[in-house]
């Protein structure tokens, strides 16, 4: 009978509700029982050992080994500090840093390039290192341009410590140069010489003259060097006022347009080739020349190309210029509350000392930023053309530092360059639109 079952049921209904309640409670308690992370506060609480996380994007084996050795040496010498090596990678570094800062779980030391550090510094995520740097030998020993690269535009504070930088170079297929009777321009060459040589060095579809990275979000990485060489500053501060300076860059853009459509020195493939594949493609001979950074030598060596290759400077027009991509370490401002800031600064100073900078730079096939380190004879060797790249260190420039640069680069300049090169935009329109949109962005990001 239904009624009788209901009479004897109240206990089981309550029982059921009790069970459901326990289940819900267990589901709610589970996170507390199973979480594995030690809250940040616990990390620094022990006065005994301060843990410092060293987040790095080092990927070339030599540099990874050098950095790990450096941290090991530091830990041995400083038993009260434990520096922990945390591997990152360039592809995800910015996302990692942004989310970590937003969540308050950022590692103490974070590796990136100077423009990123400036942005994070202005936003408050990175600590101001000006006083710390001035109080150490880094102020005098670091190359002034490297320090300038790390200095923020408006408040002129230094939000990260530079330790290495690269030189943008041109890799050339020496055998093909010899074949066509072109001497390797070890002392530099002009745009005209370059174009004449490149025309002889291109034979589509078998191989092209020049390959470069013009893919989306990286379009200006290689191209901006050519724009600088015309004397254009792209985005610069003039008398306290920031402005877009693209008009003088016409020859650079016209040159690339002609290289693509008139001389067929470069192919449309450059518009989608990311940095990853270019050295490998060059090593199998798909292009006679390759524009990228001096870090790629190890990749080329590993690829064992069947030809001799050389690394030389980019051609110059009104001046020599290439990107310097200064790499820096930033200090999380949250480390102050955690009490690990002093320890982290110690680690940074140690990793940025002369020997560690030399070891790291050699392992990364880049150059150190300390003047004393740069003077080391290992950077003057002719093997793998270190000496040629070193001669260009003085001509390297950094990307514009204004906070508007990322949006200008990715949203305005890059796509417009691609559309111009794909004949969707005329040169005049390119310059006028980019300048107009750029000025709007400069206004949007101007400090309030």
């Amino acid at each position: 009978m239904k009624n009788s079952s209901k009479d004897t049921k109240p206990l089981s209904r309550r029982e059921f509700l009790r069970r459901a309640g326990t289940l819900a409670a267990a589901a709610g308690a589970a996170p507390i029982l199973t979480h594995f992370e030690t809250p940040p506060s616990a990390r620094a609480a022990t006065a005994e050992v301060k843990k410092v996380q060293f987040y790095t994007n080092a990927w070339q084996p030599g540099c990874v080994a050098a950095q790990q050795a450096g941290l090991d040496a530091f830990n041995k010498a400083n038993p009260d500090i434990k520096a922990e090596y945390v591997q990152g990678d360039w592809g995800k570094a910015q996302d990692f840093i942004t989310t970590s800062l937003a969540g308050g779980v950022a590692p103490e030391i974070m590796h990136g390039i100077a423009p990123w550090a400036i942005q994070y510094g202005i936003q408050g995520g990175y600590a101001d290192l000006t006083a710390l740097i001035e109080g150490s030998d880094l102020k005098t020993d670091t190359h002034p341009r490297a320090l300038d690269d790390a200095t923020a535009p408006f408040d002129h504070k230094i939000y990260s410590l530079p330790f290495s930088w690269e030189v943008g170079v041109l890799y050339v297929n020496a055998d093909r140069f010899k074949e066509k009777g072109i001497p390797i321009p070890e002392n530099g060459w002009t745009w005209d010489e370059f174009i004449t040589a490149a025309q002889k060095l291109t034979d589509p579809p078998n191989y092209t003259g020049l390959a470069a990275n013009l893919s989306a979000t990286q379009t200006t990485e290689d191209l901006i060097a050519w724009m600088w060489q015309t004397g254009a500053e792209v985005m610069t501060e003039v008398g306290g006022q920031w402005k877009i300076d693209l008009e003088p860059a016409r020859p650079a853009l016209q040159l690339w347009y002609d290289m693509l459509w008139k001389y067929h020195i470069t192919s449309e493939a450059s518009l989608s080739s990311g940095e990853a594949d270019l050295p490998a493609a060059f090593a199998v001979g798909t292009s006679s020349m390759l524009q990228t950074g001096c870090w790629a030598r190890r990749v080329l060596i590993e690829a064992k190309p069947k030809f001799q290759w050389r690394m030389i400077a980019l051609p110059h027009l009104k001046r020599s210029a290439q990107t310097d991509q200064t790499q820096t370490w930033g200090l999380a401002s949250a480390s102050k509350e955690r009490g690990t800031m002093d320890a982290a600064w110690k680690v940074m100073q140690w990793m940025a000392n002369k020997d560690n900078q030399i070891a790291g730079a050699l392992g990364d096939w880049l150059f150190p930023t300390r003047k004393s380190a740069l003077a080391d004879p290992q950077f003057d060797t002719t093997e793998n053309d270190w000496h040629l790249a070193k001669a260009e260190v003085q001509n390297s420039k950094a990307y514009p530092k204004h906070p508007a640069w990322p949006e200008f680069d990715d949203k305005v300049l890059g796509p417009n360059i691609q559309r111009f090169l794909q004949k969707d935009l005329s040169l005049d329109d390119f310059i006028s639109k980019s300048t107009a949109d750029g000025e709007k962005l400069l206004a949007k990001y101007a400090p309030k």
């Binding site: 089981s12 209904r13 996170p31 992370e37 937003a102 969540g103 590993e302």
Partner: protein, 305 residues
């Protein structure tokens, strides 16, 4: 069947070569021939399409660096090598990543089964006021773009101390698969007749008991399909895993593979593809094992969904 017996009076030469039944069979096969030809042809094309990239992954995982970067690619490597597998299994924490993936995927599967069964049962068996709105909210949840919710979720998880914990990631994965699974499972449960449980309850079972004894055995295929779907989704999940796991020793494989990938300029294709094989093959085997439950579980759900 009498007509296939040869009449003894027929001579060899006048006897028909094929008898009537076989003639009909042949006729029917010939009629279906265009359809059958098309079917096989289509299946072969589709198989090339779906399996092609996978074959490429497998083939590249056995190639040396020189063979990867060559102008004339080959499907079967000329000098196959196990070096890539050797490298990732001995020199990298690939096995650790594999273990993490197993923990996270199994955890997601179990939690998803639990929550989905409860939820779908409630939506199917009880008629209450908010039934429709919950269903609508389930679909709406799927429509919110992930990129936008990433940071708020991350901050929320940080405050709940769920970062760097298996449970946090399991929770996030489960929530991601919940809407679709609940929807399909509800449809499946709708086809399981209520009478049996009600009879059991009349006979003195509590509702939970009725579920356990009567309902679950019948609901097994649907629940298996939920298990399969949630396991596979969790196995491949990348965005949450990357954001939530800060400690490299807790990365699942989908994040671990990124380390071979995003490394500055060079991409160790052989290693990445070996890792990819490690990711795909176990999941594929698990999938193949249970796939007929997936289809039967969805079949019934399909009608009533």
């Amino acid at each position: 069947m009498i007509d296939h017996v040869v009449k003894p009076t027929q001579s060899i030469v006048s006897r028909p070569l094929i008898n009537r039944t076989n003639q009909l069979r042949l006729q029917r096969t010939l009629q279906k021939l265009p359809g059958t030809l098309f079917s096989y042809g289509w299946l072969i094309l589709i198989s090339i399409f779906t399996a092609g990239p996978f074959l490429w992954i497998v083939s590249t995982s056995f190639k040396t660096r020189d063979e990867v970067f060559t102008i004339t690619p080959t499907l079967i490597p000329n000098h196959p090598t196990l070096a890539n597998y050797q490298y990732i299994l001995t020199q990298t924490p690939a096995l650790r990543f594999f273990l993490n993936s197993v923990i996270i995927a199994c955890g997601t599967m179990l939690l998803a089964i639990l929550l989905t069964t409860l939820g779908a049962y409630a939506l199917s068996r009880f008629n209450f006021r908010y039934r429709r709105s919950i269903g609508v909210w389930l679909i709406t949840g799927q429509m919110i773009p992930g990129v936008v919710t990433l940071i708020p979720l991350f901050v929320l998880f940080t405050q709940l101390h769920l970062i760097n914990s298996y449970f946090g990631l399991i929770m996030a994965n489960t929530i991601a698969v919940l809407p679709f699974c609940v929807w399909m499972l509800k449809g499946y449960f709708d086809t399981v007749p209520k009478d049996l449980e009600e009879a059991a309850m009349i006979d003195g079972c509590s509702r939970v008991g009725a579920i356990r004894r009567v309902f679950l055995p019948m609901a097994a295929p649907g629940i298996t399909s939920v298990a399969l779907f949630s396991f596979t989704s969790a196995w491949q999940e990348f965005m949450f895993a990357l954001t939530m796991m800060k400690d490299p020793s807790m990365y699942p494989m989908s994040v671990g593979i990124n380390f071979f990938v995003g490394m500055g300029g060079t991409v160790a294709w052989g290693n990445i593809m070996a890792m990819a094989v490690l990711i795909i093959v176990p999941s594929l085997i698990f999938f193949l094992f249970l796939q007929r439950y997936l289809i039967s579980g969805l079949t019934a759900g399909a009608v009533k969904a």
